[in-house]
Symmetry: C2
Subunit: 179 residues, 2 copies
DNA sequence: CGATTTTTTGAATCATATCAACGTACGTGG
DNA sequence: CCACGTACGTTGATATGATTCAAAAAATCG
């Protein structure tokens, strides 16, 4: 059997605990690891020219986060990852550090599937950003991630949705009035 | 050698010519093929509830387009593909119709890389939609796809950028004034 | 608890959409 | 190859959704 087996590798990866607010990956660094979230929640975000945060992904339990964009080639990370809650992750040695010959076919297929799902999710998000109002995006978020709603501060949800905290507050007020 | 080899497979795939306006994939159909664009240009888009088109990808020369989201599992297409120009494509038999065992490791690695690049592009686009004004998105588009600018009707670029044709017209006017 | 952060609310403003009208370009059939 | 019809791009007037700034209320943290 090949050295690196994707799903098995996760189960056997070392655990690490991360305090709320702790940064796991900084924009510009060479990413060396991926993180499988056992409990808690991480986020991926960038800072724009004006220093404003833009969250493009939440990673709660059972998600893998990391700069998959540079998974098989060495490139500096394009975004930051930190912990929204106290979090336990499994640290997956980055593929950069593994010879491709040592990755077995099953793992490659698994990764392909993971990538597909991510592509699907990202595409869906783009379409939503293109076609939906702030209110529609919020209600869709509520339906898709009902559990995150309780756990993630509103201002971060606002960031994820591409609106201001004030904007989200008003959207919520409006929706509450509808019921 | 395995039956299916990704890059070679493209070169050996049968050619098909597509007239401008011709539809290659319809939302809801089971996608059976991917398309490698030899010349011309395709687009991927969805229709929202109001029947409005939202283009989320252009596929000019040397792009592969298809419902990669359901590449390795059978699922109905979530979007439409049609031709913006008279186009020549190479038709790649969909992986659904190929036993995974027949896909060689090299192909899987190639596909992984393709997927990564797509993920990167999609992520970049999301961040841009979250953080940039219509004008910024347009100038970025001009820089990224200077050649598409000449070939794609303005209203389609507007759709891709998530603004109205009128909006794009005004943005262009404003930029022209700045020079 | 007190201090800090988050959320809410109000008022003014801005970016972009909408609707309608007009000119222009385009391709299609005669 | 021209003429017509349709699609495309522009412009103006108005409407709207969302932002910004400021301040107060509410929640959270140490």
């Amino acid at each position: 059997m090949k050295e690196f087996n994707f799903p098995d590798n996760i189960k056997n990866s070392p655990l690490r605990t991360v305090k709320k607010g702790e940064i796991l990956l900084r924009n510009g660094e060479l990413p060396a690891e991926l993180y499988y979230v056992v409990s808690g929640c991480l986020r991926g975000y960038i800072l724009d020219q004006k220093g404003k945060e833009h969250i493009f992904i939440f990673a709660p339990e059972d998600w893998i986060i990391g700069d998959q964009g540079s998974l098989l080639n060495s490139a500096p990370a394009l975004f930051n990852i930190d912990a929204i809650e106290d979090t336990t992750v499994r640290v997956i040695r980055h593929l950069n550090n593994i010879k491709l010959e040592d990755v077995d076919r099953g793992s490659l297929i698994q990764m392909n599937k993971k990538f597909q799902n991510r592509i699907l999710a990202l595409q869906t998000r783009i379409i939503q950003l293109l076609s939906s109002s702030a209110e529609e995006r919020y209600t869709s978020f509520v339906q898709t991630y009902p559990n995150l709603l309780q756990r993630v501060p509103q201002k971060m949800i606002a960031s994820y949705l591409g609106i201001t905290p004030e904007g989200l507050s008003r959207v919520r007020k409006k929706i509450a009035g509808k019921k």
